[in-house]
Symmetry: C2
Subunit: 114 residues, 2 copies
DNA sequence: CCTCATGCTACAAATAACGTAGCGGTACGC
DNA sequence: GCGTACCGCTACGTTATTTGTAGCATGAGG
């Protein structure tokens, strides 16, 4: 049985096997808590891993550490000794890309529910 | 055992229990294949569910249908009879919010791999 | 030494995603 | 009618991921 998912999701996050980096990015960001983590780090300065867990609905430390490792690997998040986790300059640029999302969420929530 | 995750991820996608619609949106978009689906529908006109599955690395029909249902519920995607799935005007606005992401992915992929 | 907080890990149980197969429905050509 | 071939969608058993709880080693400050 081919492990398509495992191969696509676990390996080559940064890889552009398809030649389209956006796929790798979408892959990374599509994992649970990833978007939320980046969002929580948006402007609240460095957060300790535990504070981050609390901010993310008390997500389990297992996934949290997985995501943080992946995000560090991706150079979007860094752990500043004695400070906590924070976005790297690159991660902050990603946040900028998300800026329109907040505005969209507002108008989206006001939409009639189907 | 409290089902924090199930309660947070499954129910109230549109709900603003926290008063922050962005959380509901991040929740929805943080599920597997969701970002990818929206991306694949970006400009390729309507896609049949099977074509969409093919475009998404042959994701299993089970999750695909789940995601499509959620996205339809969220009024981001619609099924046009005889045509296929496509983004709603609202979904297209979301795509616009993602526009900077593509540019970011390009520069991100060129980053030194830690 | 004791307490507290940090980053991080172990492990079993619960949940979600997977792959395969197949359903009912609607066209087609024959 | 009958056979094919699509469509959207579902069942079901297997696999992978997430969850919740507990705990580790380390360091700071009493």
């Amino acid at each position: 049985m081919p492990k398509k998912y495992a191969a696509a999701q676990k390996a080559a996050v940064r890889g552009s096997r398809t030649g389209r980096p956006i796929m790798a990015l979408l892959d990374l960001l599509g994992r649970r808590w990833t978007l939320r983590i980046i969002w929580e780090l948006r402007d609240d300065g460095p957060l300790t891993s535990r504070a981050l867990r609390t901010a993310c609905n008390d997500a389990s430390p297992t996934v949290m550490q997985s995501r943080l490792s992946e995000l560090r690997e991706a150079a979007l998040v860094e752990l500043v000794a004695g400070e906590g986790y924070s976005l790297t300059p690159l991660g902050r640029e990603l946040m900028e890309s998300f800026q329109p999302l907040n505005r969209f969420a507002e108008q989206w929530s006001k939409q009639p529910t189907s």
